[in-house]
Amino acid sequence: MEQAEIQEQIYAYMQKMKGKKKLKEKDVIKKIVADNEELDKDTVKKALREMINVGKLMYSYGGGASSVEIPSEEYLKEKGLI
């Protein structure tokens, strides 16, 4: 599977879970690997990290624990991405 396709799946899952559950990287990776038998953890992790590098996803922090989420418009403006 192409990386772009993996990233589309990741983004769709993140959108579905937005506001319902704080997701850790591991939760996302587990879900995508479970949905795609041919994928391994490292491939999904690499695709997810690329999304974080370009601001498509971002790390967040609250209640003592870190999570991954879709960035807000405010964040994207602050980083000069829109």
Partner: protein
Amino acid sequence: MAKYQTPMLDELEKGAWPSFVTEIKKAAKNSKMAEDELGQLEKSFQTKRGYWKHGGIVGVLGYGSGVIGRYSSLPEEFPGVAHFHTYRINQPSGFFYTSEALKEICDIWDKYGSGLTNLHGSTGDLVLLGTTTDALEPLFAEYSSRGWDLGGSGSAMRTPSCCIGQARCEWANINAMDICNHFTQHFQDELHRPAFPYKFKIKVSGCACDCVAAIARADLSIIGTWKGDIRIDQAEVKNYADNGMDIQKEIVGMCPTECMTYEGGELKINNEKCSRCMHCISKMTKALRPGEEKGASILVGSKAPIVVGSLISWVLVPFIKAEAPYEELTELTENIIEWWDDNAKPRERLGELIEVKGMRPLLEAIGVAPQPQQVKEPRKDPFFFWSESDFEK
């Protein structure tokens, strides 16, 4: 004239010790952030309430660690600290700096932040206190272009820290600084991208004096030790006695395992009973030295009391060779982290997980055999278990 009257904070300037209030006042002459920090802090003392909000989505693009979001809950009253984020810089191993390096750090910090620092935070990082969200990216660009990277925060590998080790200490049984640097480089990804259930701290001490207090704070403590007998110079023992040391009281009487005797001017040690605590060696530096075969003890599971009570470390491996390139040590560490990462609930530290599941599954997962030194409390921690397969035999 000062913007705020601070009668309660002024009390903290009295007495013999250096005062953080005095330092904030100095910074406030050139920084509106520091000035409003004084005002908000005085208000906190007056009302006995904190006015900081913590957390959120501040950070540097691509990184999930190193910046801790902090906001004032009274931004209109104290606009200078509306944003007051903490920026952690990964400290050099052993906290060695040149004055030129410190000046460089401070000059950049004066440009983008409050000018207030904390050398060093309890994690070990060089902590810069108080900057704004807008300043984060240019601040990071300036520091990283000069070789200063962010430290760890959040659910990540925290910046490994160590004592000054063999750079200045004759008791260091391992090269604590090199081990610390090795783990810092090896776990760069885990340090900057928080993917763990919670924080994970590695601390390295050259000997059991444990100057970085690894045993009380680190999820993984690497503490220098030795095999074999403590080396004794009886002539120097005599010198200590001649110079007024009460060896019976101060050395023999303080030995936690009662493995020493002092008779007829001769100090004897039953090395089989010695727990290598360093008490006698640190008191009689000229007379006693560690044994010649050096290595490290690996301990796991300590933490400070945030979620539940504090825990002290537990011996996992009594002795391991700790020499570059540290392959065995690194593999062991990775295996411990993998077990914890696979099994821990969110915000559960390694020590808490061991308390829940017991030491046995950890030992099985990482392939370390049970050993007597792992017994934490006599008659409480049996390491002999029957499994289903034993009954089938």
